[in-house]
Assembly symmetry: C2
Homo-oligomer: 400 residues x 2
Amino acid sequence: MAHSLDLADPLAHARGRFRLPDGIVYADGNSLGALPAAAPAHLAHVVESEWGQGLIRSWNDAGWIDAPAQLGARIAPLIGAHADEVIVADSVSVNLFKLLAAGLTPRRRTIVTLAGDFPTDSYIAQGLANLLGNVTLREIPLADIVTALDDQTAILLLTHVHYQSGARHDMAALTAPAHAAGALTLWDLSHSAGAIAVDLNAANADLAVGCGYKFLNGGPGAPAWLFVARRHQKRLENPLSGWMGHARPFAFEPGYTPAPGMARWLAGTMPILALAALNAGLATFDGLAPAAIEAKAAALTTHFIDRVAHIPGITLATPRDPAARGAHVALAHDHAQPLTQALIAHRVIPDFRTPNLIRFGFAPLTSRFADVETAAATLAHLIETQAWTNPAYHQSRKVT
Amino acid sequence: MAHSLDLADPLAHARGRFRLPDGIVYADGNSLGALPAAAPAHLAHVVESEWGQGLIRSWNDAGWIDAPAQLGARIAPLIGAHADEVIVADSVSVNLFKLLAAGLTPRRRTIVTLAGDFPTDSYIAQGLANLLGNVTLREIPLADIVTALDDQTAILLLTHVHYQSGARHDMAALTAPAHAAGALTLWDLSHSAGAIAVDLNAANADLAVGCGYKFLNGGPGAPAWLFVARRHQKRLENPLSGWMGHARPFAFEPGYTPAPGMARWLAGTMPILALAALNAGLATFDGLAPAAIEAKAAALTTHFIDRVAHIPGITLATPRDPAARGAHVALAHDHAQPLTQALIAHRVIPDFRTPNLIRFGFAPLTSRFADVETAAATLAHLIETQAWTNPAYHQSRKVT
């Protein structure tokens, strides 16, 4: 069954764009994308030739100075944005701070977000509110989000696909009431971009951020990116007004003048080696249609849910409708943490999310239906044998 | 003469720790440090083995999660700090924002800085002041800095070695009056760390930032770092309160609790590949005493000044006393920009700084006295032949 699905998979060839360890089922592409096959040689070239031989001349000659905008333009088609609406910069956390601060107005000082959304999004909003003193952060249950939007609301901040459940918001359906209330929408696409088809402009979204190291395959801690719809680009200003966001950074003028377009969202100098890896990660999407990627994600996760939802002790924490989820599936189990360690020991790599979730992220470019099948069978076996009773699977780890 | 100086140089062996292009005099280590010889293999290992094979497991197994603190501890001895006072994070611009915001108090809302200091330091302060609305930025001439400090002053922000002139402040002599006024000092060590002996704790300094890509040899756009003196670590809080600065990032708690120690100054996930290159850069300092590095910088720059100060049309813009400068020398010339291009065409690489300066940065670990001699002779020749009259040297470049 899985074999025939893999044979019929129009994206099956994409796996050849990566180097994956032998004998491993990698189900954590939602935490760290796999290594693009072209990345080692590309990085070696940037290190040995551009840095080692070109030295400072490479800022011009190798185009380093243009890399943040050029990589942003490569991300744009994956998220339904124009090329001049996206730039690579800093981290998701730092970019959230910039956009949240920029979106406040003298009269609108409330940020509305979902209770239980990815913590850093809330932490950053808390830090901004503490710094400014006159900003309110409201963390609201899903059912009450729309009614919480009012004439004090500056921004509705949401992660598009939830980091735990994988549940996906209807972007257009939430943007409309936000706009009706006079607020902007800010979408965290960390678990969406590269996994499903996102169309920011079709949804009339205002602002977005996302990370480079998950489904975009940019390498561990890859730089993040941000999106500002064209209609807001002249008005919104970056509070982290560093020199790379200046209209003329090498004029060394005493006063800050924001660059036109997205360049103003840069702050300091960007890590070029990390950008080189992200470039290789984005190249893995060449020629692949977002709709085909989403269709593969839906098929993989459906297949997995079909295989695991009935296992005793497992509760499916992810929506059953593929259109209502991303590319990962979360399963609740009373012994989720040792079960995760047992899976890793058995060469199936998902991750654990407190308090009781095992997340299986099936990156559409690298995952085979055979991998899904192996992951499900291994999980069933480990539960049947009560693997959590083995003390070896109770080791403590800094990163879970 | 230069040959005998190189033979007698106790740091001469350090050049062997780098790969430099043949036939080039690299006098821009103050903008981008050279490639450490060990960097390509180290990066290839991190990319191919840790990322490619270890995948998500490397956050624990390869110690990625500890890299920012471990690299901070490696920087500490170069700047007179304790290992637990330094962490690698983000960019200089972003770190300046964090520390400037943290250093404000309800009653002290003024930032004093030097007029004409490196622009991004001022741009970031301007951005913070615009965001908060009740912060005053005072840009003061050098002679008036001490008298400008008053009971409104929260922070005295200074670059230790000036990016243009190379002039070095007496850190202890300026920290004392800042403390007498009740203010904190915040030092930008971008042009100091790795070039001269810095002793933050001997000067009783409070806060510092610095960049990784200049004299620390961490690669283009390498992550930056920050220092907070132990006595301030409990009190000061990071306004960019992202998840990696949380006391328990993987507990995914709804409320932000800052980590103890320096970890609270992290925001988002750090770029691991860029940290790997910085690690190789910091390894080039193994076993080298900061005092020996400073002595070499003084000898190189003195030798250069002796060779060029008399050239017609050249005005020395850098202090003649080695203790009053860093490791670069700035020369003013009416045709500085085309002269810089002519030097590069003649395989001597300095950089240009508007409006009329040529900067020669002699990184003590890679520069030979013979390089200094060649740079001086090439400059003398190009001025004698009026190289600036050649239109080929008037090309426009994005990065200067």
